[in-house]
């Protein structure tokens, strides 16, 4: 075997017209902690936009009901819950009509559940991209939690209709709703980062997710109110960040009529802390395993 060095003569080529570029890329094995690469994510924001846009474009193609599906899911759940828990079991709803009590919670919950499931399966679903082209992988789970916002917006219109129908006026705290929604989004993203990265190696995650979401819903005061739980244990509910989100939604929207309305303060603070913990650790775990995605997915 002969190994020649590159011949120094350059045949028939001219240097490129562009000036020498400012960016030099060094490729080498990552050692230790990988940086979160948030700047790279920002540089690729247009790709993020296009991925979300594709998701929205494609989602209800070739369906008869189309956008109606977005409304149908929470409304049907609301009707069933109202019959079962509101009428039959008489679950206390703090003086608010049970349907609107349930729907106010279903709104952020459904957004969270679909975002979590989408971002957790997103990496494996994008195998063809991951193995063929480079971009910050963080974009994929992030796009999973963004596209659900449109569904949330549409389902929110139904809530406005319900509030008018039942004559419920929101409290001024309604301006805080985006912050509560953001908490739901970051929670979904945090768990989505963990699960999507794990899913690359362990397909168990695919089976885990529907089950996890179901159990999680019963642990979250969606069909009941957290007042059902004895006061001294209530902070424990905060360990589930979605409790904070759901109760805050009720507080901001129905507070005027809710019997013992108060911002679930401690509970909310615990939720934020947990979410940040999961989000940051998720991002670190994601980045640490990212380098092997293309090899094992």
């Amino acid at each position: 075997m002969t190994l020649e060095t590159t011949s120094s003569a350059q045949v028939g080529t001219s240097p490129p017209s562009q000036a020498p570029t400012e960016h030099t890329l060094v490729i080498e094995p990552t050692r230790g902690w990988a940086s979160l690469q948030l700047r790279a994510v920002w540089q690729y924001r247009e790709l993020l936009y296009f991925l979300v846009w594709r998701d929205l474009k494609v989602r209800y193609k070739q369906t008869v009901l189309g956008l109606l599906w977005i409304v149908l899911q929470p409304v049907v759940s609301m009707v069933i819950f109202s019959l079962l828990f509101g009428e039959l079991l008489n679950v206390p709803s703090g003086g608010v009509p049970y349907p609107i009590f349930a729907y106010t919670a279903l709104l952020p919950w459904n957004y969270f559940a679909s975002s979590l499931s989408k971002s957790s399966t997103s990496l494996v679903g994008s195998t063809h991209l991951i193995t063929k082209v480079y971009f910050p992988r963080l974009i994929i789970p992030v796009s999973g939690v963004l596209s659900g916002l449109v569904d949330f917006g549409i389902a929110f219109l139904v809530l406005i209709g319900l509030m008018v129908y039942y004559g419920v006026a929101p409290t001024p705290a309604v301006v805080l709703l985006p912050a509560f929604l953001l908490l739901a989004m970051l929670t979904a993203l945090g768990f989505g980062l963990w699960l999507s990265a794990l899913n690359v190696r362990y397909r168990d995650v695919n089976y885990l997710i529907p089950f996890l979401i179901q159990v999680w819903m019963y642990l979250t005061p969606v069909i009941y109110g957290s007042t059902l739980i004895p006061e001294r244990f209530r902070f424990l509910l905060g360990l589930n960040p979605m409790t904070g989100v759901v109760e805050s939604f009720r507080w901001a929207l129905l507070g005027n009529q809710l019997a013992d309305a108060q911002l679930p303060g401690v509970l909310f603070a615990v939720s934020i802390a947990i979410t940040l913990l999961v989000l940051i650790s998720g991002a670190i775990f994601f980045r640490a395993t990212e380098r092997t995605f293309a090899d094992i997915v």
Partner: protein, 427 residues
Amino acid sequence: MIDIAIRVEKLSKRYRIGRAQQRHDTLRDALVAGLRAPLERLRRDGRGLDRPAEDTIWALKDVSFEVKCGEVLGIIGRNGAGKSTLLKILSRITEPTEGRAVIDGRVGSLLEVGTGFHPELTGRENIYLNGAILGMRRAEIDRRFDGIVAFAEIERFLDTPVKHYSSGMYVRLAFAVAAHLEPEIMLVDEVLAVGDIAFQKKCLGKMSNVARGGRTILFVSHNMAAIANLCTHAFLLEQGRITRMGNTQDVIEAYIRSFQSLNGATLDQREDREGSGRLRFEDMRIQDRLGRLLDVVTCGQDVTFELAYTTDTSIRSQNVVMSIGFYNILGQPLFLCRSDLQGTEYRNMPAQGTVSCHIPKLPLPPGEFRVNLQCEVNGVVADWLRDAYIVTVIEGDFFGSGRLPSRTRGDLLIEHQWRQPVADAKE
């Protein structure tokens, strides 16, 4: 310094293979192994042993080279030699295990055309989506949009979902987007192996324009004609190492020579194969009419290709299709002998055996030809060996006239008759 676009230093990539058997595909396995691992590590540390060597394979080992600005460098090598791994590392899809690469300039990589195309979206929408995936900004795509559409020749179908496109249109659109990517450095993998001949020519034309435009290109292909056409320099990768580097023509010749040593090694030792493995080709022999083994074949000779195989026994009563593909030395396809096209059905094959394909009059002129073997079981590729054999053909009396066309006049001989003139009725 500034005129070096890519500098690669001792780049290596290790994959685990032995571990593939006991990879922790389910969480349960991982938990069990997680409990065991500390113990095992203790034991191994005690003995001072590293991971056994057979667990891993070096897909790339100590690869170093430099590419100057504006140079078009070809990468040649057999399947599994590490070409794609190298491009994947340079495109940052996967990380190297050792070594480093320094790239000066904006990189666009084209490891596949149509990455991220969505069948439900229209041509117009896919142009934007695919452009963004390849790293173009929206403003750039806007600017090049008309050029892309014209190049792909799909004006009329711009607003049709691509799932209704013919495969030709699909590929044209996909390549058009990629071809309008204008980074300073382009990494291209085998994308020309798609589309019809006319479109391939157009793509090659576009690429050589790009090359002349002073762009730096790293080009991987099995198509030696394309490599010879486009590249000023090339190197040959064999089992993850660079074994030859320099002038394109020299490297292509070294590559071709490397095949001739292949026939010595029996097929069953070849690992660079693809497919499910339900059937494996073990050996290939060529026999003449009387069953004598042939080392070289004569033009027009009556030959039989004998393919010895083994299967897992579960293959019984499955539908098996065998094919032998003939290629010239540059890798351009000449003809295909495929059992189902010719009307032979293979069912209930013995677990080990030999199938044969008889060609009464081999239509190859003198020269060397590459042979691919492929087997499908129920439509799924079971074994696929590129360059399983190099057939050496020597001069023979194909036409019964003792004469043959000059070697530059094509890679096939065909039986035909010229007739004496017939007087025109009018005269």
